[in-house]
Subunit: 335 residues, 2 copies
DNA sequence: TCGATGTGTGAACACGTATTCACATAGGGG
DNA sequence: CCCCTATGTGAATACGTGTTCACACATCGA
C-alpha cells in the first residue's frame, strides 16, 4: 500500500558532498583537482565529508569534458592458445596501468569478429591497440574517422604507429644457425596463413635457404597450437625421414614438434634433429623443453608501444612511426 | 600570423548528424534506439547521414543517463605465471563480451596494490569481479559504498556472490587416489600462504591423510610457479628419499615437480613416484606432461559467474549467493 | 589612499546522450 | 461535427563532472 517502489540507489555525487560540507559544488571538484585554488581548511573539510560519504569522482562524467580523456585503451589480441600473445598482453596491460590507462581487453579470434571490435569504438577511447595481425584495414579507417589513435603491433601498417619484430631476419638467423652446424635438409612448420607473422617467417625461411643455395625439404601447416605442431611434425617426419632440422613458426609449435620427434619417431634432439622455435616465451626455458629459439623481445615491444602511445597523446598530428624490433638467437638444448 | 591554432578535432556528435539529415537531435537518438517512435524514411535518412559522417553514439555519455549502464566490468586477477588464472580470465572475458559487457582487466599481483583496484572504481562499473584470493575485504566495503556489484571467485566471501571450487574436497580426492594405489609416504608442495586456495588445499590434504590414519612426510613451499615447484621438489626429494607420492598445489607446480623428480633424481613416474596436480590446465594434457590432476572446472565457474552477474543486474537487492564447484580426478600418466 | 596583483569562491556552462513532456497530426467511431 | 487513441516530433531536461567567468577580498608597493 505505502509506495514501496524505491528508486535505484545512486552513486554519491559531488553535489551531496558539497551540501554535507557546506560548500559549493565547484569547491568539491577543486578539492580533487591538484593545483586548484582552494583554502587548506576547506579542502580538508571537503575530503573528510567525501571520505565519510564514500564519494569518488565519476570518471565517465570527467571523460566527457571538452579536454577530458577517458583513460580507456582497448587492446585487441589473439587467442590464449598462443602463449606469446598471452604473455605480451599481460606485460602491456601492466604497462598501461603504470601510465594511468585502463585496458579493455578483446581477445579472439573465434568470437572476435571485426564487428565486435567496431562496437568497442562506441567508447571515446584514448587509443586502440591491435596486437597480432589478423584484423582488417577497415578498423583503421573507422578509428581515424572517430579520431581514436591506433597503434599496431605484430604487423606493419603504413602511416600508422607500428611496432613489429623483424620476422624475416629472425627466420634468416635461424636458418644461418642451422646451416652453420651442418644441417642441410630443413623443413618448416608454419602457422595460419592469414597471420602476418606466419607469412613473413615462412618467406624469410625460404629466402635465407636460397641464399645458402638450398631449398626447403618440406612445409607443414599448423594453427600456432601445440596439438597441431605435434600432429604436423609427426606426419612431416614420417614422409621425410631425412629431415635434420625443423624451423617452427613459434615456440608452442616447436614444443609440439619436439614431443612428436622424440615420442613418435624416437629422434634424438639435437644430435639427430635440430629444432628452432620463434618468440622465446617463458616456457621455452623450462627444463622440459630447453628450446633453442629466436627471441621476439616482449619488453622492448611493450616499451615502444607505450612510448608511441604517450607521444601520440601529446601530439595528435605527429606522423606515424614504425619501430622494428631486432630478433636474436637464444641457444639452448634443441640446437 | 593567421590564427593557426586549431581546436582538437572532436568526435562526430548527434547534433551534427541531425543538422546533416535535417532533423532534430532527438530524432537521431531515436534512430539508434530500438523500439522508439520514428518514421521509416526519416530513420533511414538519419542512418545514411550517420554512416557518411562516421557517427557512433558515445557510450560514455549514454552511460551517464539516469538508468544507463556503462557496460564496463572490471576483472581483477592474478599473475600470468599462473596458467589457470590466465586461462579462466580469457574464458571469462569472452563470456562477458557475449553478454554485451566489456572487461577492464587488472592483473597482478606485484604491481596490483589494493589502491590500484580502488582507483578503477572511479568508473561507474556494472560490476567488479575478483578472481583469485589475495585481495582484502576492504575492496568489498568500497564496492558496496559505491553501489557497484561485487562477484568473487576463487574464494568464498560471506554475503557476497561467490563461485569457488571445493578445494578441500579436491585435495581429499587426490589423497584418496594416492592411498588407494598403495602410496603411504606423501608430501605436499604448496603455494603462497596468503592465497586462499593454497591454504584450503593444504588443509584438505592434512585432513584427508588423517582420515586414513596417516601423516604427511613433508611440506614444501612454492609461489605457484614452475621454477619454485622444480626447486622445492628437488630439495624435498633429497631430504626425504622415501616419499612415494607428491600432491601439488597446482598444475604448474606439479610440472616443475615432475621435471625435478625425473631429471634431478632419476625417479620413474608413476612407477616410482606419483604426482598429482590441481586445476587441469590445458597444458596438463600435453604429451610432455600427461599430468594426473584434479579438475577445477573453468567452464562451469565462468558460467556461474556470468549467471550471478546477470541476476544481480536484474535484481539489485537479491541475497548474495554462493556456488561451490565440485572437483574431480582426471587420471593420466603421473599417477 | 590608490592601483595592481594574487588568492579564493560560487554561478554558469559545456560535454553528448536518452528520455520525458507537450504538442501536433491523422484516423476512426459515434 | 466531436471525442478518443495512436503515432510522430521537437523542445527541454537530467546525468555528474571540470573549467571558465565574474567578482570579492586581502596584501603589497608607491
Amino acid at each position: 500500500m505505502s509506495g514501496l517502489k524505491e528508486t535505484k540507489p545512486r552513486r554519491v555525487t559531488a553535489q551531496e558532498v558539497a551540501q554535507a560540507a557546506g560548500v559549493s559544488r565547484a569547491a568539491v571538484s577543486r578539492a580533487f583537482t591538484p593545483g586548484a585554488y582552494l583554502s587548506e581548511d576547506k579542502k580538508s573539510r571537503i575530503l573528510e565529508a567525501a571520505q565519510k560519504l564514500g564519494y569518488r569522482p565519476n570518471a565517465l562524467a570527467a571523460g566527457l569534458q571538452r579536454k577530458g580523456r577517458s583513460n580507456l585503451v582497448a587492446v585487441v589480441t589473439g587467442d590464449i592458445a598462443n602463449q606469446f600473445d598471452s604473455e605480451i598482453r599481460a606485460k602491456l596491460n601492466r604497462g598501461l596501468n603504470r601510465i594511468g590507462k585502463w585496458s579493455i581487453v578483446l581477445e579472439g579470434p573465434e568470437d572476435m569478429s571485426e564487428e565486435k571490435i567496431l562496437e568497442v569504438l562506441a567508447y571515446p577511447l584514448d587509443a586502440l591497440i591491435l596486437r597480432g595481425g589478423s584484423v582488417s584495414e577497415s578498423v583503421a579507417f573507422h578509428c581515424s574517422q572517430l579520431n581514436i589513435p591506433l597503434i599496431v603491433s605484430g604487423r606493419l601498417m603504413p602511416g600508422v604507429d607500428s611496432v613489429c619484430c623483424d620476422n624475416r631476419q629472425g627466420a634468416r638467423i635461424a636458418v644461418d644457425q642451422l646451416v652453420a652446424s651442418g644441417r642441410r635438409n630443413l623443413a618448416y612448420v608454419g602457422g595460419l596463413n592469414r597471420l602476418y607473422s606466419a607469412r613473413e617467417r615462412r618467406q624469410g625461411f625460404e629466402t635465407a635457404l636460397a641464399a645458402h643455395g638450398l631449398a626447403a625439404v618440406a612445409f607443414a601447416k599448423s594453427d600456432y597450437s601445440y596439438a597441431q605442431g605435434y600432429e604436423a611434425t609427426t606426419k612431416l617426419l614420417a614422409e621425410n625421414p631425412h629431415v635434420d632440422g625443423v624451423f617452427c613458426s613459434n615456440d608452442v609449435v616447436a614444443m609440439g614438434a619436439l614431443a612428436a620427434a622424440q615420442q613418435e619417431h624416437g629422434r634424438q634432439v639435437p644430435e639427430d634433429l635440430s629444432i628452432v622455435g620463434f618468440d622465446d616465451i617463458s616456457m621455452a626455458s623450462w627444463p622440459d623443453f630447453q628450446l633453442s629459439t629466436i627471441k621476439n623481445d616482449m619488453d622492448a615491444t611493450v616499451e615502444h608501444i607505450l612510448r608511441l602511445l604517450v607521444e601520440r597523446l601529446n601530439d595528435e598530428d605527429k606522423v606515424g612511426e614504425t619501430v622494428v624490433i631486432k630478433p636474436e638467437f637464444v641457444p639452448r638444448q634443441t640446437h
